[in-house]
């Protein structure tokens, strides 16, 4: 909730309007669920907690996504560079974070930092940074998604049809202009389906931060179960939440794809050119 808390404390709009509105909304729904499902229903009574958990999940996803994407482009370019000083570190970093499980990375950074807390304290990296589970979670997710996103971008760039690059060079484009006008836009369109998978994967992967004390949707689910012992219903409900949000993300990307590929849509049959090869 760190980002939201930050917004809350500094922007009056959030404090006065959004937060009470959200609280009021979830209380209303919770009241409705409790009267519908009864006083003892695990989901009804704890609905607002689930909403908070879902909020933290989305917050973590968005934060890691935005930072990850910003970092992935330079890393991808470094990976494609001919300069070995850029290529090999990028390759090594991507190889490590794609070749090891996310769970291991999370434990490594969070508890590993704990093992070295005296040294980190000395370097001023402890308080506010590695001390906080939120920071460790975001750091791990960013490192992980940057590596995967850089690989996707690299694949996109390398699959830009050579003909287009040739034509651009023939027109006299080179360097940054070439990248900006020709390569990157095309690469983005090629990479979009793969990237949508990465976004959904990241969203689902946030469920792992529950193992380092953060109360995301999965963390809240485990908490509610330990309170009420209603294992099956709570997990099914949590699963449905993840399903619903995952498909919203897929749907958003489908719309984005359709928008970006408008110029590549097939014409209706009646207008098909007679001599078209495809």
């Amino acid at each position: 909730m760190a980002l939201f808390t930050l917004l809350e404390n500094h922007i009056g709009f959030f404090h006065d309007t959004v937060r009470p509105a959200l609280d009021g909304a979830c209380q209303t729904v919770q009241g409705g669920l409790v009267s519908l499902l009864g006083e003892k229903s695990a989901i009804g009574v704890n609905f607002c907690r689930f909403v908070e958990g879902a909020w933290l999940t989305l917050e973590l996803t968005m934060t890691a996504l935005v930072i990850g994407l910003m970092l992935a482009l330079p890393v991808a370019l470094a990976r494609l560079s001919r300069n070995p000083l850029l290529k090999w570190p990028a390759f090594g970093y991507m190889f490590y974070f794609r070749g090891t499980p996310l769970l291991v990375q999370i434990f490594l950074i969070y508890y590993g930092a704990g093992q070295f807390s005296p040294e980190l304290r000395q370097w001023g990296l402890w308080d506010g940074l590695f001390r906080e589970a939120y920071f460790c979670a975001v750091l791990t997710l960013v490192l992980n998604t940057t590596a995967y996103s850089a690989e996707i971008i690299r694949g996109g760039i390398q699959n830009v049809p050579f003909g287009e690059v040739e034509a651009a060079r023939a027109c006299g484009m080179s360097g940054r202009l070439l990248y900006r006008r020709i390569i990157l836009p095309k690469a983005a369109r090629i990479a979009l389906p793969a990237y949508s998978n990465e976004v959904v994967f990241l969203f689902q992967a946030t469920s792992l931060v529950s193992v380092i004390t953060l109360l995301d949707l999965t963390g809240i689910a485990r908490d509610v179960i330990s309170d009420t012992f209603r294992t099956f219903e709570v997990w099914i409900f949590t699963l449905l939440c993840y399903l619903a949000i995952s498909y919203c993300i897929f749907w958003l990307f489908k719309r984005l794809e359709r928008r970006l590929m408008r110029h590549l849509q097939r014409r209706p049959a009646s207008q098909a050119p007679l001599n078209a090869a495809g």
Partner: protein, 262 residues
């Protein structure tokens, strides 16, 4: 006549054998434990389960004539796994509380020690209920009486839950937490007396509120298996009476952990 004698002898032998098999047949009982709560239950360097709970469990099984097998299970899912019949009894320092009694049955206690805080030596905190420990980070293991107690008595504190006691202790040692609350013996033997526990000490009082801490640690059994509950209760009384309990107690602790007979 000879044939009758042979047949009679065979029949007799069969009856004896059947009788012997019957009396030698032990009930198989699977026991769930955590394996991450020294000195009560933990896993040693060779991968074996060791600890007070384990020794007590073995003694009880011997007394009740059970053939016991241990199953390691994380604390989070220890009751759901019991309900899923992955084992038949939980012997893992689980306190007998009303909340748990709603879903499982308990035997009588087999030990009862108070809960305490640990924190950095020399630190002072305001431990008054309801208003104290404002903004203080308290680490507890999730799904425990200590979590419920901390949340109820110090609502202004920030209670952080961990999957295992060790993880909470690790975060206390690294400075992410100000205090950790758990069973005083587990904290003493499992943390304070180890290398990692240097510079930390007990703070505050002994806490033993029956509403939250229940009546000590007991054996949890699925509802509807009263015979198993009775068998274990009988076994507990037996090992208390014949000195086995004392022997195990003294092996681990310099004081009596059973507490008062109640």
């Amino acid at each position: 006549m000879k044939i009758v004698k042979i047949l009679a002898g065979a029949a007799l032998a069969l009856v004896v054998a059947a009788g012997a098999a019957q009396s030698g047949e032990m009930r198989k009982v699977k026991i769930g434990t955590e394996g991450a709560y020294p000195p009560f239950n933990s896993i040693d360097t060779s991968g074996k389960l060791v600890g007070f709970d384990i020794d007590i469990a073995n003694a009880l099984c011997k007394a009740a004539n059970f053939e016991c097998e241990f199953v390691v299970q994380d604390w989070d899912g220890i009751i759901p796994a019991l309900q899923a019949k992955k084992y038949d009894a939980i012997i893992a320092s689980m306190s007998i509380t009303d909340k748990r009694k709603e879903v499982v049955d308990f035997t009588g206690k087999y030990y009862n020690t108070p809960a305490k805080f640990i924190g950095a030596a020399g630190a002072t905190y305001d431990f008054t209920y309801d208003t104290g420990l404002a903004g203080v980070k308290i680490g507890v293991q999730g799904s425990t009486i200590h979590e419920d107690f901390a949340r109820a008595k110090w609502p202004k504190a920030e209670v952080v839950t961990y999957a295992t006691q060790d993880e909470a202790n690790a975060d206390l040692a690294s400075g992410r937490l100000d205090l950790v609350m758990a069973d005083s013996v587990a904290l003493d033997e499992g943390f304070l007396k180890t290398d990692g526990g240097k510079g930390f000490t007990f703070l505050g009082d002994n806490y033993n509120d029956p509403k939250y801490h229940g009546n000590g640690a007991g054996i949890a059994i699925r509802k509807g298996e009263q015979d198993l509950v009775d068998a274990f209760n009988k076994a507990i009384q037996q090992i208390r009476a014949d000195g086995t309990y004392k022997a195990i107690n003294d092996k681990y602790f310099a004081y009596d952990v059973y507490g008062s007979e109640s």
